[in-house]
């Protein structure tokens, strides 16, 4: 009998688990606007994704969770930086949870896939999260996909000249092998090559790689510096291994190489990051009043967050803020399938902590970029000191649209 009883109890437990799955969802109040929020809580960008969520939440909290008398309800989903997972998560938010506004995803390939999906859902408004692939808005853009953050290539404007000015005449590129780093490298090289710099070798490494020994071994002796466009754990792994291999070339970083989540890495070799130049849409030490207020709010709201908001927190914040400002502009009225809302978004000038952002004809942001350098404050925290701020950076980097080619492994090139 005891065996029977045990099986029975086990069965009950199993049934309870299955039943609880079935009960998930439903039951919502009337006057709410559902906003989907997708970021990578798994995979190589898990830390960045979690901070992205914080940024988006901050934008909602700033408005007290209400827009035009309607409650904003965030429905969250996670992906692992893979496009198919991102589309599945987005489809679940849109078709199952019935969100009317969708904010996300985080990484480049995901952005392109979600944009393709957006075309099948014309009544839902998609606003980018953190993804920065150029093709998302340059190739076959979707009418209902908006991006209020500048993208990978725009984030690197100014860095090429700064690096050349620092005396780096010849550089090697080490970057992850997908759309976002291609854009970053393009943003850098467009200027750097024009200034007269040479890039004899580009090493494209897989995302989520653990071992960089073969890349480190290939670094030519005669280059002056390395352009390292790696994100999150990859950047930390590379920097560690490069130090251990006795590498001493100065490093110029991509926008997510020396983001806050990398700066906060507690490894013993983190000192090697000091002096690293990079560029991006934000700088911790920017002294604009709006920015300081934003940082203070972030710290107050998320004591468990970083000492200063990371790039992902900031771009998610901007995009979520745009989503909410747009909702406020139409009084929370999405009854026409969001048509008015999308018109309002296209015309909007978004006030961000780093200056105004406008959209171009492809619904892509035109905004500011900071060139920065890593320094240490008196508490021992690393931060990005502003070297220069460049405003009104557009997606084609000032090149006429007809001549502009999307960055790839081989574009641009100046060996």
């Amino acid at each position: 009998m005891s065996v029977q009883k045990r099986v029975f109890v086990r069965t009950l437990v199993g049934a309870a688990v299955v039943a609880s799955l079935g009960l998930a969802g439903s039951a919502y109040a009337q006057e709410t606007i559902k906003v989907g929020l997708l970021a990578t809580l798994e995979g190589p960008f898990a830390a960045g994704g979690a901070d992205g969520m914080r940024g988006a939440e901050l934008a909602v909290r700033e408005r007290g969770g209400m827009v035009a008398g309607k409650k904003i309800e965030l429905v969250k989903a996670s992906s692992d930086a893979k496009p198919d997972v991102a589309v599945n998560a987005t489809r679940k938010l849109v078709e199952q949870d019935k969100v009317q506004v969708m904010v996300g995803p985080l990484s480049g390939g995901e952005g392109i896939a979600v944009k393709d999906y957006a075309k099948t859902q014309p009544t839902v408004t998609f606003i980018n999260g953190g993804s920065g692939a150029q093709a998302t808005t340059l190739v076959n853009p979707a009418e209902n996909f908006f991006r209020f953050n500048t993208e990978g290539a725009q984030w690197m404007v100014g860095l090429g000249n700064a690096a050349y000015g620092k005396g780096y005449k010849k550089m090697m590129v080490i970057a992850e092998d997908y759309a976002f780093p291609y854009s970053q490298v393009q943003g850098f090289m467009t200027e750097y090559c024009k200034a007269g710099g040479k890039v004899p070798l580009k090493a494209w490494v897989p995302l989520g790689g653990k071992d960089y020994a073969s890349v480190i071994a290939r670094i030519p002796k005669d280059v002056d510096a390395l352009l390292v466009v790696l994100g999150g754990a990859d950047a930390v792994n590379f920097l560690n291994q490069y130090e251990q291999a006795g590498g001493d070339k100065p490093i110029v970083g991509g926008s997510i190489t020396v983001s806050q989540d990398v700066l906060n890495y507690r490894g013993k070799r983190r000192e090697s990051l000091l002096g690293t130049m990079s560029a991006g849409p934000l700088a911790d030490a920017y002294d604009g009043a709006e920015w300081k207020k934003f940082v203070a709010d972030y710290k107050k709201n998320f004591p468990d967050g970083y000492p200063s908001p990371s790039l992902f927190a900031y771009v998610y914040y901007m995009n979520m803020k745009a989503a909410l400002d747009g909702l406020a502009a139409v009084n929370g009225d999405l009854s026409d399938g969001g048509k008015k809302y999308r018109e309002a978004l296209s015309k909007m000038t978004l006030k961000t902590p780093t200056g105004d952002v406008k959209l171009d004809a492809n619904r892509q942001a035109i905004g500011s970029t900071f060139v920065t350098e890593v320094v240490k404050d008196d508490k021992g925290n690393f931060y990005n000191k502003v070297v220069r701020k460049i405003d009104n950076v557009n997606q084609t980097l000032g090149i006429p649209a007809a001549e502009f080619k999307i960055g790839s492994r081989d574009v641009p090139d100046c060996p």
Binding site: Q4, V7, F8, R10, T11, V13, G14, V17, S20, L21, A24, G25, L41, E42, A46, A50, M53, K76, A77, S78, K82, P83, D84, V85, V87, N88, R91, K92, E95, Q96, G109, I112, A113, D116, E176, D177, Y178, A179, P206, L207, R409
Partner: protein
């Protein structure tokens, strides 16, 4: 030895052979129960013998389902589960009836997906050859079947954990090949916008047509597996699973049977892979990465390796968890729910969900399952 003779010879002990791993009472659920001796396995007779009331009920429910459910549940839950279920079914057959756990089944499916993308149409115009779908799809299944047979041919001489290791190695090697090759596989970004064709005026990617497409092939695969299990080949395979040495002594070509089993399951996995690629609309190295190789094993184990239907049940539970676990537990903890449920099922019912169901039936219904 002819097939009929073989069956006669085996029937006396086949039940025991098929279920040696189970304790005595379970042996009554033999794979061979209901199969009458010496009667030639005729197609129609076989089908009539197989269909019972519950099959009709389930089939009716499956056909009515997409008209009741939302497009989301039709497409993302059901169609995805059917496509994944087919890939898991290929592993369940190989593992449950052939005794070979191959982690490369997702690789086979991925090969089919990549062939469809490379030879068919995709967003990467420099790579895709734009062959018409009616050439591409059979070609993809053929290529993947051959690839599966080759993988089998490489790994059949190993046993147990070594089979897992070698198939895992092949899977990971293919993953890195797709990741690092740009001229054919387009690297990390893979091939995007790989959609099913519009045939007979129907867009096969819209939820209901795609659901029925998946349902049709899933049913076909299920029936094929059910049939093969009882066909002479399947019985011989089970014999090989339980005692390869004795089977060899009886004059069976063990390696040939095993390789054939790989090829057969590869064909199922390939069809599942094509459907899964169409479902995602893209194929990337992520689709053939280690996480998916293992997910397929998880699905098969969840459902129960020794039951063809288990693969589909496992896939449904897996897909539901993947979609809704995040609603149960907030933020980064939701993977804990997924892991917890898997652990619970495997712990409480080593034979998966179907095993659990059968135990319940015996416990409370008192009806012997057939």
């Amino acid at each position: 030895m002819s097939a009929a003779n073989w069956r006669k010879a085996m029937n006396s002990g086949a039940g025991r052979m098929a279920m040696t791993a189970r304790p005595a009472p379970v042996a009554s659920i033999s794979v061979l129960t209901g199969h009458r001796e010496s009667e030639p396995v005729s197609w129609i007779g076989f089908v009539r013998g197989q269909i019972s009331a519950r099959h009709v009920i389930v089939l009716t429910l499956l056909i009515v389902y997409p008209f009741v459910a939302t497009p989301f549940f039709t497409f993302q839950i059901a169609a995805q589960a059917l496509a994944l279920g087919m890939i898991a079914l290929s592993l369940a057959f190989l593992g449950g009836y052939g005794g070979m756990i191959s982690l490369a089944q997702m690789t086979v499916a991925g090969i089919a997906g990549y062939v469809v993308a490379i030879f068919g149409t995709s967003a990467s115009e420099a790579i895709s050859l734009n062959w018409p779908w009616w050439v591409v799809v059979p070609f993809a299944v053929a290529v993947a079947t051959i690839a599966g047979a080759l993988i089998g041919w490489l790994s059949v001489r190993t046993e147990g954990i070594y089979t897992i290791m070698i198939t895992l190695a092949i899977g990971v090697a293919f993953h890195y090949l797709t990741l690092q090759n740009y001229s054919v596989f387009n690297g990390f970004q893979g091939l995007q916008r790989v959609y099913p064709p519009t045939v007979l005026g129907i867009d096969w990617r819209s939820p209901i047509p795609f659901y029925f497409l998946c349902l049709f092939f899933a049913l076909a695969a299920y029936c094929a597996v059910k049939y093969v299990i009882r066909a002479p080949f399947g019985v011989a395979l089970q014999g090989i699973r339980d005692n390869p040495r004795r089977m060899r002594a009886l004059g069976f070509h063990v390696t040939a049977h095993r390789v054939t089993a790989y090829a057969f399951t590869a064909a199922i996995a390939a069809v599942g892979g094509v459907l899964f690629t169409w479902y995602n609309g893209l194929v990337t190295p992520g689709s053939v990465g280690t996480s998916w190789l293992i997910n397929v094993l998880i699905i098969a184990v969840l459902g129960g390796m020794r039951h063809p239907i288990g693969a589909f049940l496992g896939a449904i539970v897996f897909v539901l968890l993947q979609n809704f676990a995040i609603d149960l537990v907030d933020r980064e903890r939701f993977n804990l729910v997924i892991g917890g449920v898997f652990l619970a099922i495997v712990l409480f019912s080593p034979d998966g969900l179907v095993g659990l169901w059968m135990r319940l039936k015996r416990r409370f219904g008192g009806v012997e399952s057939r």
